[in-house]
Amino acid sequence: MIAGKLSFIAGLAVSMALGWYAFPHVLYQRVDQPLRFSHKVHQTTAGMACDDCHSILASGRFSAIPGISKCAECHAAPVGETKDEKLLVANYVTPNREIPWKVYSRQPDNVYFSHANHIKLGKLACERCHNDHGKTDTLRPYEFDPISGYSRDLGESKFLRGAAFKTRTSMKMDDCSACHHERNVHTGCLDCHK
């Protein structure tokens, strides 16, 4: 009888270990970013603010990831000694080629999200959705789900977020809804799915 219970519990334990620990590792594929980028250095050493690069344009659109021309404003030639900055100048700034960043937060095509509304009207801080991403010293690998094709940041529930990912905040629809409910903001389908 005890052996039977132990067998059951063993099966339970093995599948839970696989399901909670191994499954995410097997499911998500990791890709390194094309360059190491330090938000920390830009904020501390260079004394820059978030909206120096990520700003709301006059048209109301949000300049999410700045283009290479923005980088070139300071890095037309290397200003430091790091290998990554040299790569930046040689491979991207000089040939005027955009950096193929892997965007953690890229939403599906059927989602409409306005940074302007959330920052100006909602008065949300960047950290509310992006956590401490703006203070990181390097960019973590981009993880994506090969079945859905979406970034791990979009498809992962809170339960799957481990302590190792302190700088990541989920951007699932549930999180959007929860935040809207917290702030008593309308949540109609057509608000986000135009």
Binding site: S15, M16, G19, F23, P108, D109, I147, G149, S157
Partner: protein, 701 residues
């Protein structure tokens, strides 16, 4: 521990139970759903740099500027353009979703012919042209070839008339006047100098509207908004309308007359204005037939009219006083996009209020407009005569070509059908959608839809200044789509190309040195453009040419046309025959502008639906609970709405805001496949209008 079969099964059972409390199965289910959204054959926006292009909306005549936000070359969002000379940032829900329309299920993207069982089937362009040519050549004596152009005023409209000018018996037709009906009537009532008229509503201090949806997309909506939301002195609105429309709800004063009695309200207001000396006596006395007019309005005291219309006399007096103390004020007829105008007689009575209020040739009232210049050589063109389709003799049209661009206003098939030669009339549609009258066409040679081709946007018909802009081609044209000019070329055997003509028109404007061109960068005078080609490129890039205001020159001769008004309006208070007992209810179609003709609706348009319309099918009619009770109809029942012209199935929604005795039905596409409209059963009255039809309602078993 014994690793026997039984324990192995328990291990598997435990594993199965355990896996259910891990994210694995649920994540995989979720992923499979997302995976199915990303199959390669599902249309997706291309990736690429985001760009902004400027164009002009053509879905209604307002000519609103549009900023098209594109990924690569594909528009993904349309918004208004701040500072646009006509729209100033305004864009209605229809315009916001306009980039969806080319992909609408009812889009025709290749030539179609009505098959033997009545359904449209593909046909080759050459075959269609040959058969249509044969029908044109073989039309009988005394019958005509006609083009019905729902968007007059364009260069293509002139091309239609020139094409018809090549036939001795052809006629160029336009739908019954709608938003401009008041202006048309005023042109007949005065000796206004040559040219058109427009409402200077942006400067009006009050407006009385007889069913016109002033706050729901009328005229140039941005100008109405500018007046209504003017700081300090917002324009007062008196809405005379049976239906509790959005404009009625937001108006300063809502007068809800029984259907068909609006003109009596106009006469009663005229009565109060004159008898209480609220307007200068000269406004009336200088007109021909002033004494007769005074006598006529004497038959419409508020107390008597109250009994006819159901509007309390003090409300009528209050409306007149509101207008009189807020001059300049305008009176606007024409009804809404679905119900259309009232009869000419009734609209004359409404238009006459403008003369009484002194609004004619007064800033803030009705002002003259000079049309844009056209190339001199165009004046040599032999053009077919122009007529309203309502004025064409019945059973006279052998071949009718429906124009390429639907107006978006209602045009009942019953009005068209009675003009065709019975059993032989051939209908050819050039519209891009199988909707509205096109559903009845024998041949459909679809034109490009909005955003697929260069389109000219002429002066909005209610504007006080001439304008011209060009809607750019931002989307690829489907292979089977046919340019209307090509159809005309093949039918006439003469080469006709629209593009060069549009460029000539731009050159004529440049030569005239009149007006300014406004684009996203600002305004500059036409004199800054050195060549016509330079101006043309500015228009194609989203610029809008606007002319200057014309100096007002008040008319010398004014006539209230008492005889014309009396024909119909007196019938309201002295009915010659009782109402049709078999059809005691009033069927009143209504619609959003741009969405009730041959147009289709983008999904985003659902944002303007009322909750009650979203509760179920769009095939519904709204009736007052007391009306429903008399017909033994309950909320949600399937009902048959019958008129003398036919019947249609609807779902009944009980709504206490509907006037008892009235059936309100949206005039847009209906049916499970959007294959019929309530306009198909609207009975035309002897004035050729369909605003209110005798009807009855009964529950279907």
């Amino acid at each position: 521990m014994n690793a026997g079969r039984r324990n192995l099964l328990r291990f598997v059972g435990g594993a199965a139970a355990g896996v259910m409390i891990t994210p694995a199965p649920w994540k995989l289910i979720n992923d499979s759903a997302l995976w199915s959204q990303n199959w390669s054959w599902i249309p997706k926006l291309p990736s690429g740099p985001r760009t902004v292009k400027y164009t002009t909306c053509t879905l209604c005549p307002a000519g609103c500027g549009v900023e098209a936000r594109c990924v690569g070359e594909q528009p993904y969002g349309l918004v208004g353009v701040t500072g646009h000379p006509l729209s100033n940032g305004t864009l209605c829900p229809l315009g916001v979703g306009a980039h969806h329309l080319p992909y609408h299920p009812r889009r025709a993207s290749f030539p179609l012919k009505r098959g033997p069982v009545g359904k449209h089937v593909p046909v080759s362009f050459d075959t269609a042209i040959a058969e249509i040519s044969h029908a044109i050549e073989g039309r009988g004596r005394g019958t005509t070839l006609a083009v019905l152009d729902e968007r007059p005023g364009r260069t293509l409209s002139l091309v239609y008339r020139r094409f018809l000018g090549g036939f001795s018996d052809a006629v160029y037709l336009t739908p019954p006047a709608h938003e401009t009906v008041t202006l048309s009537m005023l042109s007949r009532m005065t000796d206004s100098p040559a040219g058109s008229l427009g409402f200077d509503i942006a400067s009006s201090r009050a407006a009385i509207s007889f069913g016109a949806p002033l706050l729901d997309g009328w005229g140039i909506p941005a100008q109405v908004n500018a007046a209504r939301y003017r700081a300090g002195s917002p324009m007062k609105i008196v809405q005379v309308e049976t239906k509790q429309s959005r404009t009625a709800s937001l108006a300063d004063l809502w007068l809800a007359p029984k259907p068909g009695t609006e003109a009596a309200v106009a006469m009663a207001i005229a009565n109060v204005l004159v008898n209480q000396n609220l307007v200068p006596a000269a406004n009336l006395d200088r007109a021909a037939g002033a004494a007769e007019y005074r006598e006529l309005i004497g038959q419409f005291p508020p107390e008597a009219v109250a009994a006819i219309t159901g509007i309390p006399p003090e409300t009528i007096v209050a409306a007149a006083q509101m207008l009189a103390v807020n001059l300049p004020a305008v009176a606007i007829g024409g009804g809404d996009a679905g119900g259309g105008a009232a009869t000419a007689s009734e609209e004359t009575a409404i238009a006459g209020l403008n003369l009484l209020l002194g609004a004619f040739h007064t800033p803030g009232g009705i002002m003259p407009r000079q049309e844009p210049p056209v190339p001199k050589e165009w004046n040599e063109w032999k053009l077919a005569p122009h007529s309203s389709i309502a004025d064409v003799p019945d059973h006279s049209i052998a071949v009718l070509i429906l124009g390429d661009s639907p107006s978006g206003d209602a045009l009942p098939w019953t009005l068209i059908a009675k003009k065709l030669v019975p059993g032989k009339g051939l209908v050819v549609s050039l519209a891009p959608f199988v909707e509205g009258p096109s559903r009845h066409a024998d041949y459909i040679l679809p034109a490009a839809a909005f955003l697929e081709t260069l389109e000219e946007v002429p002066t909005p018909p209610t504007a006080t200044t001439a304008s011209l802009s060009i809607a750019a081609a931002l989307l690829p044209v489907p292979k089977g789509v046919v340019e209307p000019a090509l159809v005309l070329s093949r039918l006439s055997g003469t080469e006709i190309a629209l593009g060069p003509l549009l460029e000539q028109r731009a050159a004529a404007i440049q030569e005239s040195k009149r007006g300014i061109v406004t684009d996203a960068a600002g305004s500059k005078p036409v004199t800054d453009f050195k060549t016509g080609d330079e101006l043309w490129k500015a228009l194609v890039a989203g610029g809008t040419w606007t002319a200057e205001l014309v100096a007002s020159k008040p008319p010398v001769h004014v006539d209230f046309q008492v005889a014309a008004i009396s024909q119909r309006v007196l019938v309201v208070i002295h009915p010659a025959s009782p109402a049709d007992a078999a059809f005691p209810l009033a069927l009143t179609p209504y619609a959003w502008r741009g969405a009730s003709g041959s147009s289709v609706l983008p999904p985003l348009f659902t944002k303007v639906y009322q909750e009650s319309l979203l509760r179920g099918s769009a095939i519904h009619c709204r009736v007052h609970p007391s009306t429903a009770a008399e017909a033994h109809v309950r909320d949600g029942d399937k009902v048959l709405v019958e008129t003398r012209c036919g019947s249609c199935e609807q779902r009944a929604w009980l709504d206490a805001s509907v006037m008892p005795g009235v059936i309100e039905v949206p005039a847009g596409p209906q049916g499970s496949k959007g294959d019929y409209s309530v306009l198909d059963v609207c009975a035309l009255d002897d004035g050729g209008t369909w605003r209110s039809s005798g009807a009855r309602i009964r529950r279907m078993s």
